[in-house]
Subunit: 451 residues, 2 copies
Amino acid sequence: MTAVDYRGPVSNQAPPGPTRAVRVGVLGCGNVGSALVELLQHEAAAIAERCGVRLELAGVAVRNLAKARAAAVPEGLLTHDARAVATDPRVDVVVELIGGIEPARSCILAALRAGKPVVTANKELLANVGAELQAAADEAGVALLYEASVGGAIPLLRALEVSLAGERVRRVMGIVNGTTNYILSRMSEDGIDYAEALAEAQRLGYAEQDPAADVEGFDASAKVAILAGIAFGADVVAGDVYREGIESIAVADIEFAHRLGYEVKLLAIAELEGEGEGAGIAVRVHPAMLPSDHPLSKVRGAFNAVFIEGEAAGELMLYGRGAGGRPTASAVLGDLLDAAGSLAAGRRPRRVRRRRLEIRPIDELRAQYYLALDVADRPGVLADVARVFGDHAVSIRSMEQVGLGDEARLVFITHTAREADVQATLGDLAKLDAVERIGGLVRVIGPERSG
Amino acid sequence: MTAVDYRGPVSNQAPPGPTRAVRVGVLGCGNVGSALVELLQHEAAAIAERCGVRLELAGVAVRNLAKARAAAVPEGLLTHDARAVATDPRVDVVVELIGGIEPARSCILAALRAGKPVVTANKELLANVGAELQAAADEAGVALLYEASVGGAIPLLRALEVSLAGERVRRVMGIVNGTTNYILSRMSEDGIDYAEALAEAQRLGYAEQDPAADVEGFDASAKVAILAGIAFGADVVAGDVYREGIESIAVADIEFAHRLGYEVKLLAIAELEGEGEGAGIAVRVHPAMLPSDHPLSKVRGAFNAVFIEGEAAGELMLYGRGAGGRPTASAVLGDLLDAAGSLAAGRRPRRVRRRRLEIRPIDELRAQYYLALDVADRPGVLADVARVFGDHAVSIRSMEQVGLGDEARLVFITHTAREADVQATLGDLAKLDAVERIGGLVRVIGPERSG
């Protein structure tokens, strides 16, 4: 390419065309709902100028009137009746931000059946009854959009569904829960222990008082089910996802990982295996050791990122704030404008067809494993332990004793092994007298290293 | 959120609907064209199953018949006549991969006027006559898509145009040229000098034999013009972009940057300044010192990444392979399927309206500056130099002498200053007897640091 500076002869100021009004009904006015109402109020004029669509708030259904008032919703638009907003003929597009299964599900179905496009950020709903909602949307020929359900403002779903429509995606692997990434980052960077890091995350508002949904991996499971569905054109529900949380990760495990050139992250992974009729997908959430120079290893604090591997596209990563009212509301707004566009265009064809893909059980996973055992510090213990590995054809790549006496710990990295064999090994190790406790089991991502 | 595993009652296997055939005419069969032809041949069946669209190669226009044969284009589809393919009634969508201004421009205009959507990867064309092409597309009511023109397979343009449609984007800042990032990475990580790193990049095929388009920043300028146009809804041409290349960056500059906690990257930056009537944009390409913990600082080798700052969305980064036949062809394929969808939907409305935005001259930039001067090592020199800074109201944050005698070098970091004042300072410094050479001038990104 050479340096050309040639401005075309035709003026670019095409007549902008009329601005259409699109009336938005919002169900739920919590964190995201309030942020959305605020954005609609402040940005409507700029959006109308930019996109030719004037988004007008036509109704807000709330459980708690006081909260909605804090978001400065005009009094006349407030109601307790979510279903009425969902089916109101004066509403063109419905945004569902109630969360949970019911009444969100019935409201969305009612809106779709009334011919209204729906935008939702409800990961739990999509990861459980997404197929039912999509079928209703297809039948009505309207859009069901949910970019905000995974990764906040990160434009993940549209990238997978539209930009990568022609791509053979092999793996989607991401940090999709900011709470656990914050906790692991604090443990990794500052050496503080899990309980302290969790308490801090709770103080800062990153973690709920009941942190189970985050730290046990439920939130990430719902998100990876949604990602897998779009990446592979398959119906995947949260219950299909193998799930482990981060509660058993100790600072010692992370320090050992660092010495080996790894970082510990809670990863959500969806992989396509095989081709054609024999194809299947593996979908799982668990802590993993990732090479320190992997782009995901550098994602710190409450940030999220998803790494996509495609056959032609190569490696891609999309990074950003995965949660929070304003980032999530930004994604809702993008979907709202997309839905508004499809209203004008008429019937909206579904982009990606779904197919049945077998969900591969975790037992069939082949990976390297990091394993820590608290053991009695006496002669012969290693031989007993090694024999158990050998009995199950799990080959040890490296072993190291950390600490002495009561603190003695054996730390292993295996060669690539089958999950079922590793689990059988763990079962038998637990029976050994000399093994006092089985500590972290962490799967290792990436090619086997020599030495 | 709690752990729900509730599979909806409705079967998800909606009837897939008929598969439509969409006939594709390809203009140009070089690196990207060959990869596209290959992808179309290998992936057509999988894409048809997934998207309900069967992409059929209907014609390939080439200059070099031998090359096209290498890509296994069926003989009957080959022609030298690009314009004939662009207007062939048997072609539904046209892909332009010729590159350069003519004949690409006339072929695209002819295709659009014949009512055919056009997909192109031609950054030079878009950054110079994009407004003319877009006006023709708007008039015909068909899609003009060019995701592949910036950042290879990274789904950048659709993210900015659709997902972030409701977002107030403040800044788009990226590494959009893999060649220069490869060279700077080698200089930074291995301390080899510019000439050697360039020669290596040429050997590896990352750099052309005439590297000017890359190392002088022309390629990045075209890309940032396209990004700015979409992010801010403004018409920006390559000639609007202030441009500096990496030729004057020395390993010594990079080493000094490291000591201060910075990395040196060639950045393409588009910023919105002000609001409403007084709004303007600054668009520029130049080497910059970026804090080492900034996500862009960690983008190594030939990879590209774009960092987007929005008011509600916060910080986002999209990362991937920014060039190469297959990644670029993957982006073309995504656009092709998007265009195929819009064919079925009928007239395609333009998503983002363009407005006039003043292009702010580089003179008005306010930044911190790194500056290296080769000077005579004798008493009084610093006083003379410092006086020149003071005369132009450029305040020095830190100064250091590196080397002695003939090797003496003064290295400065300024406080935030106006570009025009810094340039005037440079002009006067050059007149000082004691200043033998003005070395690197590198703008520093990020907030001012104390100390």
